[in-house]
Symmetry: C2
């Protein structure tokens, strides 16, 4: 029976508990006074050597100590990186940073709109754009970190304010963008500049198009032709939860969570017929970048690194039963500090549930219609985060056959800019509604994979499907059909910087070359199968290329080192990209060996988005996913022991069906019982014994 | 309320009814005697001009006549293409074919195994391979069309027999392949040759690995930790069926079916706020090829064009409620002739049901947590066909936002060949079990799309995401971030032969250049988004390249002509590929205009498969899919009128939640009610009013 049990002590991978957050904060305040703001109070992940020892022998090895990773902003806008031990509360690191800006918190953003509304120069621009000065309460502001702007540098904490208008408080503001962009100084709490374009565009006066019920009712109303679908698990769920560790269908993993990556999956193992085999030490989305493709000023500043700049954890939604999640759902909350040193809890930050996944395997013997059909199940671990206008639905999907499928769906609202109706966008954007310009952009994610394929020493091979080199008509390839998988070992960090190749169906294998499959004699491996791999469109040497270096290649591989977690650097807002932080620093000259050692594979995947009116005023969810598939890892199909829905063998059919297994789901039924049209089926028999049909008139 | 109504007359797109099949057969027999075998008695699709006129004015235009497309084999192995009118039964075409072999029928295949078992030379080879002559009843044979073998040509109807052994009748025979290949003459009904390899391999003596319940129980038994998931629609389904026409969520289409393509979708339209807009005149999988990559003789003959050679309709499974299909299901049967002129009905050949599809769209305003979340639905029209060892689960998925998603899942059993244990496969195959060699192969499908995007005159543009040509630092691209969608018009059949480009995220747009989107001013279009596009690995000039010419390119475009349906030709078995039938004949010198006219887009997609032990003895389903997405087709998001699960606006939150719409599904519940661990949630409130969480200790 599925269950959820809470253990006594935090697991070393657990995020900080509310008490631990409070302890860290109190310790810092005691030493440095009350007048400090807390940008981050999070788990410093245990050192891998300590953790590995403890995982191997939890009863006897030293339990890794709990340490808080803290970022504060003190008076005078001094930024400190700190570490605080928690069992015996003590500050063990307190380092003043120069010219670095820590993550932007939701609280900091809330203030900008208020300041903008009152700033005389902002008011002036709004009036120039066509509104009344008394209507500043209808002016709204999505503050983004400035990204990087060479006029201002990195020492002053700045945001760029995207300004919108709502004729009515419920209107979709993205329909009414202003053409100017205030720059906000977070230290002074004031507007210090406004970017005003050479070509001015007044505020749109087009009628509003909204998605909320009153607007829909005022148009054509809601469709009334959807019948409910009910999904339930009356006997409970198949997964077991102990604290943050979950077990399901041979899978076992720890579900972590932090302020910037959101969900982190730790110590993923698979029980292979009693042998618990390690697969991945850690799996997460470690960074992302959303570069916009309009080269006109100041749109180059639109390239949000949403995770390093704002945090997929900080921005995560509180999920709701029956709305975001359907079926039998388990939730896990998230706990964060407030800037002032309080506690912020996001209830239901992570949801977990299982789903039917359709046919798992099937085979019918054409001779006698003996058949087996088995249905599959998948486990979904999910969060949704809102990055101002956009929503990201991030799901980690586990399949019974050992496949892991990270899936991201994009929804929410396009970033928009002002345009005159039917103005020529020069191909850099699309008019998605009257007067609304949605610029071209990409969504690129860094999937950080620390493989542990039957152990920590792994090697990555690139695999390409290529034709035989021998020409058609030669003895080696007479009929010209020869082809094979060409494997290239990625032996150094330099060699490992590789791209996607659609023509060769390129994949990457994370292998343990010390363990060969007993049949194929190939190293046990997990294969990265990823087909949504657009190249980084901002060019080499561009601002984005410098700041989001992880996106330059489809794959990078580095040697594992503690704390090399976030490939655009630790403190991302306002990095200049000179030098490029994170991954390029870890790779250096590219000579380090990444062969047969503890490695991290960084995979860049995503979409290039050319907006269209279908995306407005809110986007129907657009999905992308990739697979981590076991190949040569198991000695045979690992799901033969999933109970079938139906099985008949040749000998059973010869014995008039004696012994045939019929476990068909009895809840399923005909849509139109009683039959009509072609299908006069009584719906009671599964895999009807006449199989491929009656024959008449022979 | 969903419903299914049977109309009085066949719809012109309907497959032949049992009565019509009988009429055609009787008419032929009356004219040519009883001693004719019927390979095909199917609908000759109505001429498009007639159909278009009738669809536009069904009450007044002439109803297209019903005509049977018939292929018979008469005594002396004479093959005839025939047409028979059905309202007034009459043979209007009776054409003798030379050197062409019609489709292989299941009945023809059933005989080969029997003949093989009795053939003295086959018995001799089996004994040499290590079995007793008395055990020939344990020898099984999967007969494939010979494909093409230059020693024999096309005039004699031949099959190649893949021979396997079952120590016990229920064993998986693919574990025990023999190394020799008998050639069967279907006219003489005898073995005329045996291909014997230079290197001999005896039959495997490895212990059997089977997937049926007795074998699983004898190993470790079934897992018992899966709790049921129930899916039901207690108020019925949301789709309406009238004969073979289905309406669902603004979609309307006719579901056809034939012996070779299986499901054919006709006259797909979308009701856009009362305006019924045509999208696709016809959509189907028109051909496929599964080339194997081992260049050694005779493996080059393994490149089944399963649809043209055997028929996705002829091989389709009879689906069963609760096994293949879960939920509330509507079925449609399929009717085919038997060779002798009887009727063969496959019950439940097509299944139709709807599924919850997760979040359709969501947006939360970070300021006040006002939120809308709407769940989506999809419609699935599905068949499963068994091609000897392999299963293909073919689903046509319709989304509410106008997207069509063809999806294919591969399951069933690998094609296998004999090997000595641990023999070097030279990279052409993999030992997936002791003594079992599974050769490299591809699964390539031809998606035939006859667009009708707001009318029949369409143009295809290729779209590539490319960086601005201007260098970084130039005035036009100072920060280097500029990028745009480069569009290339495919104006002629020659220009339209195009490949996939992963680096530019290439897509193809089917446009109506006479209809511009009112906002974007771009032509209304449907975009082909396809990422599983391996190139054809058999080289130019190879046997496969010649016979399966459709697979040479990712996209071809031709001008629509009646009866240009099957891109490898009408009669596929034993074509030599010299000349290449079908698509190359229709394209000719490539000069024909396909701009702004009635066109057909042929898209080749699929997978390259390097087998692994995980795939044996039966493969966990491996999915692939592509999307046809409306772009610039709608003037805004077409699903705003789908009722949300929850909606709160800023004004409602200011009024203490008055008017907030809470339609959360009340069936969903917590997996572990009563709370434990982190999540002490009572599960009664949807989108809890504390939104992003309580703040304490501020």
């Amino acid at each position: 029976m599925g269950s959820a049990v809470a253990p006594e002590f935090p697991h070393p991978f657990d995020p900080l508990t509310p008490d631990e957050i409070a302890t860290a904060i109190a310790t810092v305040k005691k030493a440095h006074g009350d007048n400090v703001f807390f940008n981050v109070v999070a788990l410093q992940e245990p050192r891998k050597a300590d953790m590995t020892a403890w995982l191997a022998a939890p009863e006897t090895a030293a339990r890794p100590k709990r340490v808080a990773d803290v970022v504060v902003i003190a008076p005078g806008n001094k930024v400190y990186d700190a570490l605080v031990t928690l069992e015996e509360p003590k500050i063990i690191k307190w380092e003043l940073l120069e010219g670095q800006q820590p993550i932007i918190t939701m609280e900091e953003l809330q203030l900008v709109e208020h300041i903008c509304r009152k700033d005389p120069r902002v008011i002036e621009q709004c009036v120039l754009s066509g509104i009344a000065a008394e209507d500043m309460d209808k002016v709204f502001c999505d503050p983004w970190t400035i990204g990087y702007d060479e006029r201002f540098g990195s020492s002053v904490r700045l945001q760029q304010a995207f300004i919108y208008y709502r004729p009515h408080i419920d209107n979709c503001q993205y329909q009414y963008p202003f053409d100017f962009c205030p720059i906000y100084d977070a230290d002074k709490k004031e507007i210090i500049a406004i970017d005003i374009p050479k070509v001015r565009r007044k505020l749109s006066t087009a009628p509003s198009i909204d998605y909320h019920p009153a607007a829909v009712e005022a148009r054509d109303g809601y469709r009334d032709n959807l019948k409910p679908i009910n999904i339930s698990q009356p006997e409970g769920v198949s997964f077991q939860v102990k604290g943050r560790e979950i077990e399901w269908q041979n899978w076992k993993l720890h579900i972590g969570f932090n302020y910037r990556e959101g969900i982190v999956l730790n110590n993923i193992t698979f029980n292979d017929k009693g042998n618990v085999r390690p697969l991945f030490y850690r799996l997460s989305l470690a960074e992302m970048v959303v570069p916009y493709g309009n080269p006109e000023h100041p749109h180059q500043r639109k390239h949000a690194l949403d995770q390093g700049e704002y945090g997929a954890g900080y921005m995560t939604n509180s999920l709701s039963l029956g709305c975001d999640c359907k079926g039998s759902i388990h939730y896990i909350d998230a706990n964060f500090p407030t800037r002032a040193g309080g506690l912020r809890t996001i209830k239901n930050a992570i949801c977990i549930h299982e789903e039917d996944s359709g046919i798992l395997f099937k085979h019918t013997d054409f001779r006698d219609e003996s058949v087996i059909v088995t249905r599959g199940r998948k486990l979904v671990i999910q969060q949704i985060f809102t990055a101002a206008n956009y929503e990201y639905v991030v799901a980690w999907i586990f399949h019974q056959d050992g496949t892991i499928q990270p899936e991201i769906k994009l929804t929410g609202i396009l970033n928009t800019y002002a345009m005159d109706p039917d103005e020529d966008t020069h191909g850099w954007g699309t008019q998605v509604y009257a007067g609304v310009n949605a610029h071209n952009h990409q969504h690129l994610f860094s999937l950080r994979i620390n493989p542990n394929i039957d152990g920590p020493n792994n090697t990555v091979f690139m695999s390409d499907a290529v034709p035989s080199e021998a020409p058609v008509g030669s003895p080696e390839n007479f009929y010209g059909n020869g082809f094979y998988a060409k494997r290239t070992k990625l032996a150094t960090t330099g060699e490992a910087m590789t791209e996607y190749n659609g023509a060769t169906s390129r994949t990457w294998d994370m292998c343990n070359t010390s363990k060969l499959n007993p049949f194929s004699r190939k190293p046990v491996s997990y294969k990265l199968v990823s087909r949504e791999v657009p190249g980084l469109l901002p060019k080499e040497g561009s601002l984005v290329w410098k700041r989001a270096a992880f996106a330059r290649h489809a794959v990078h591989v580095t040697k594992y080192r503690d704390d090399q977690l976030w490939p655009a650097g630790r403190h991302v807002p306002q990095t200049s990209g000179e030098p490029s932080r994170g991954l390029p620093e870890w790779i250096g000259d590219g000579s380090e060996s990444v062969e047969d050692t503890d490695i991290v594979l960084w995979h860049t995947f995503g979409l290039t988005h050319f907006p269209a009116p279908e995306d407005f005023p809110v986007m129907p969810a657009e999905p992308m996913s990739l697979l981590l598939r076991p190949r040569n890892f198991f000695s045979s199909n690992p799901v033969l022991d999933v109970p079938p829905s139906y099985s008949s063998t040749p000998s059973q059919l010869l014995a008039n069906g004696s012994g045939v297994l019929d476990a068909a789901d009895k809840i399923s039924k005909l849509a139109f019982p009683g039959g009509s049209g072609d299908s006069v089926s009584n719906g009671t028999s599964c895999c009807a014994t006449n199989g491929n049909g009656t024959t008449n008139g022979h």
